[in-house]
Point group: C2
Chain length 354, copies 2
C-alpha cells in the first residue's frame, strides 16, 4: 500500500521529511550524527510515537556506526551516552524508550557474541534498526486490517492529529485503518480536526490524505461537537502515544474531549496503536506524564504573533479514560473492555510479527 515515507536509512545518514514545513514545502533533511537525530526528534522534524521509535533506533544505530571508538571498551562506554541523548528528547512517547531498550539488547548481544568486533557490532546494530523499521510497517498493516472491519461501509469518519504514515513510518495506525478500509472499497470521507496548536491535522493528515486521494473535510477543533450533532459520523479512530494497563490512553491534546463528545452523540470511539504503545507497568492514565510545551506554539503561528503576551497553558497530550473507548485496535487483534484483561492477553500473545 502506497504511503509517504517520512524516514529512511541512507548511506549519508538518517533521512527525514521535515514535517514542520508541510504542507507548504516538501523538504528532506539528512542527519549525519546521532546528536542531530536527537535534535530533530526534539524539534519535531519527525513526530508520532512509532516514527519517533524508528528515528531513535536509527539514531542509536548511527551513533554506533559513526562512533570514533577504537576499541570495544571505548564503544561500550560511549553507547550509554548515545542512548541517553536520544532518550532525553520527548518524555511522553513510550515507543522511544521501547526502541532504545531494544537497541541496547541488540548491542549487548552483538558485543558479547563470540568473535565480536567493532565492525560486527556496527553491522548488527544497523541491521537491527532497519529490521525495527520493517516490523513497524508490518504492524501498521495488521492494525489496518483489524481496524478496517470496524469502519462503516460508507459515510463520514473522524480522526485527530496525525496517526498516519508521517507518524509511524508505515501506513499509519488510525490512518492505516482508514487506508485499508478505503482499499477494501468502503466509501469514506474523513473529518480532520486541525489539531492546534501544532496543526498536525491541517498540515499533515490533510496533506497525507490528499496525497492518497482519500476525501476529507478539514475543520477547526471547536467544530467537533457541532459536526457530531448535525451530521452522521460513523466512527472516530485516533492513535495513542501511551496506553496504561487499564486502557486509559494518552494521545494528542484534544483527544479526550473528542471522546466525550463521541459518547454524547453515540459515535464509537476507537484507539489504534501498536502493542509497543502499551505500558502495563502503569495501572492507569493518571501515571502518564503530560509534556508541557512552549507558550510560543500557542501565541505564534509560523513566526507571526496571534495573541498578546499573556499566560498560556500548552499541554501536548491528554488522557482519554478507558470507559470512553469502544475498542483498542492492535496488530494482534482488537481489545475490548475490560481492558485490564484484554490488553494483558494481547501483550502476552505470541504472533509471527514478534
Amino acid at each position: 500500500m502506497r504511503a509517504i515515507q517520512p524516514i529512511d536509512w541512507t548511506p549519508q545518514g538518517v533521512r527525514m521529511l521535515d514535517q514542520r514545513r508541510l504542507p507548504g514545502e516538501v523538504v528532506y533533511n539528512v542527519y549525519a550524527d546521532y546528536a542531530a537525530v536527537a535534535a530533530a526528534i526534539r524539534d519535531m522534524v519527525i513526530r508520532g510515537a512509532p516514527a519517533i521509535g524508528v528515528a531513535a533506533a536509527m539514531g542509536v544505530a548511527l551513533g554506533v556506526e559513526r562512533s570514533a571508538a577504537k576499541s570495544l571498551d571505548d564503544l561500550r562506554k560511549e553507547f550509554p551516552i548515545i542512548c541517553g541523548t536520544l532518550a532525553k528528547t520527548r518524555p511522553t512517547a513510550v515507543d522511544l524508550f521501547w526502541a532504545i531498550e531494544r537497541m541496547k539488547k541488540s548491542f549487548a548481544a552483538a558485543a558479547s557474541a563470540p568473535g565480536a568486533s567493532l565492525d560486527s557490532i556496527r553491522a548488527a546494530i544497523v541491521a537491527e534498526a532497519k529490521l525495527l523499521h520493517l516490523e513497524k510497517r508490518a504492524i501498521d498493516e495488521a492494525i489496518g486490517r483489524f481496524g478496517a472491519a470496524l469502519m462503516p461501509q460508507e459515510g463520514r469518519v473522524m480522526t485527530q492529529c496525525n496517526a498516519g504514515a508521517l507518524a509511524t513510518a508505515g501506513i499509519g495506525t488510525a490512518l492505516g485503518v482508514i487506508r485499508v478500509a478505503v482499499e477494501q472499497g468502503r466509501k469514506l470521507t474523513v473529518l480532520v480536526p486541525e489539531t492546534r496548536p501544532y496543526l498536525q491535522g491541517a498540515r499533515l493528515t490533510a496533506w497525507e490524505l490528499q496525497q492518497d486521494g482519500i476525501p476529507l473535510t478539514l475543520i477547526t477543533d471547536n467544530m467537533v461537537g457541532h459536526i457530531l450533532k448535525t451530521q452522521q459520523v460513523g466512527a472516530i479512530v485516533v492513535g495513542a502515544d501511551r496506553i496504561a494497563a487499564n486502557g486509559d490512553a494518552a494521545n494528542k491534546i484534544g483527544t479526550y474531549q473528542i471522546a466525550v463528545l463521541a459518547r454524547e452523540h453515540n459515535v464509537p470511539f476507537y484507539v489504534a496503536a501498536p502493542i509497543s504503545t502499551l505500558d502495563l507497568s502503569i495501572p492507569s492514565g493518571e501515571h502518564i506524564p503530560i509534556e508541557e510545551r512552549s507558550p510560543d506554539e500557542v501565541t505564534h503561528l509560523r513566526g507571526v504573533r496571534i495573541a498578546p503576551d499573556v499566560a498560556v497553558a500548552n499541554p501536548a497530550f491528554d488522557v482519554t479514560p478507558a470507559r470512553l473507548i469502544a475498542a483498542i485496535i492492535t496488530e494482534r487483534g482488537v481489545a475490548r473492555a475490560p481492558y485490564t484483561d484484554s490488553l494483558r492477553a494481547l501483550a502476552n500473545a505470541k504472533t509471527p510479527a514478534d
Copy 2:
C-alpha cells in the same frame, strides 16, 4: 467602569477600532457613509451581536444624516435602501435586525411628526442611534451585576470567543459579568480558549482582559476538556448571538462542545446576553440559521497558508441546547429552566432601561 470603546459617533463619521488588526495594532478607522459601515460590519472590523447592533444603528443614522435627498419624499424612498444594505451584512445576529427595526420606527415617528423637515429627521435619527448606544452600556452594567453573583469568590472561570467590550460597545456581556465580579473583589483567573478560526479569544478577549489587568490563561480550543478534567473551574460564562423561545442559544462555534464538557465535569454553564438577543418568534434552536463563512479563514492565517487546498467546513456558530445551560443572565434578571416560561416573563417585563 473602564473598558475599551470599539465604536463611537464622531463629526467625521462612525469611528471603529479595527478588531481584525488586534492585538498587534490598535487602529481606528472612520467610516463616512453608510455603505462603508455596512462593509465594515460584513468584513468584521466590528463583531459581536450588540456591537453590530450599535454599528447598524449608527450606519442607518449616518445614511440619513448624509443623504443627498432634497425632499422628504426622496428620503422616504432612500431610507429602505439604507436599511436593506445594513441588514444584508451578517445573517445570524438578531441584534442587527432589532436595531434596524428600531431605527425604522424612529424614522417613521420623526417623519410623521408635525412640522417634520429633513433637518428634524436627521437630528432625531442621529439622537436615536446615540441613545441606543448609551442603553447598550446600561444593559451591560445590569447584566454584569446580575451575573457577578453567580461567579465563584475565587478561582478559575472560563469564557469563549469575545463577549466583551469589543463585542458590545459597553463593558461586555460575559466579560461584563467577570468585570463586575472582579470589581466586587472576587479573585478570578479567566481561561480563554483562542476560538478558531477567527481567534477572537486569543486576539480580542486576551487583549481586553490584559488591558484591564484581569489575570487570564490562554488555551487552544482542544484543551478545554483536559483543563476541566484536571483543574478546578468554578463557572463558564459565554455570550449569545440569538436565543430561541425555549432557551436554545446560538453563539460562536465551539460553544456547544464547551457546554457538553461543562456538564461532563459538573461546571455550571451560563449564557449572558441582552433581552434584544431573545428571538421568541422561533420555538427552538433548530430554526436559527448558521452562517457558513469562507474556507480561507480555516486554511489561512494572516495571509499565511496553514493547510493544503482541501475541502473545509466553516460554520461560524453553533446552537447550545437549553438543557445544558444553568442560567441565562439578562439585564432584567436571571432566567432558569423552564426557559419558555422564564424568558417570556423577562421579555414582557418593563424596566426603567426600556
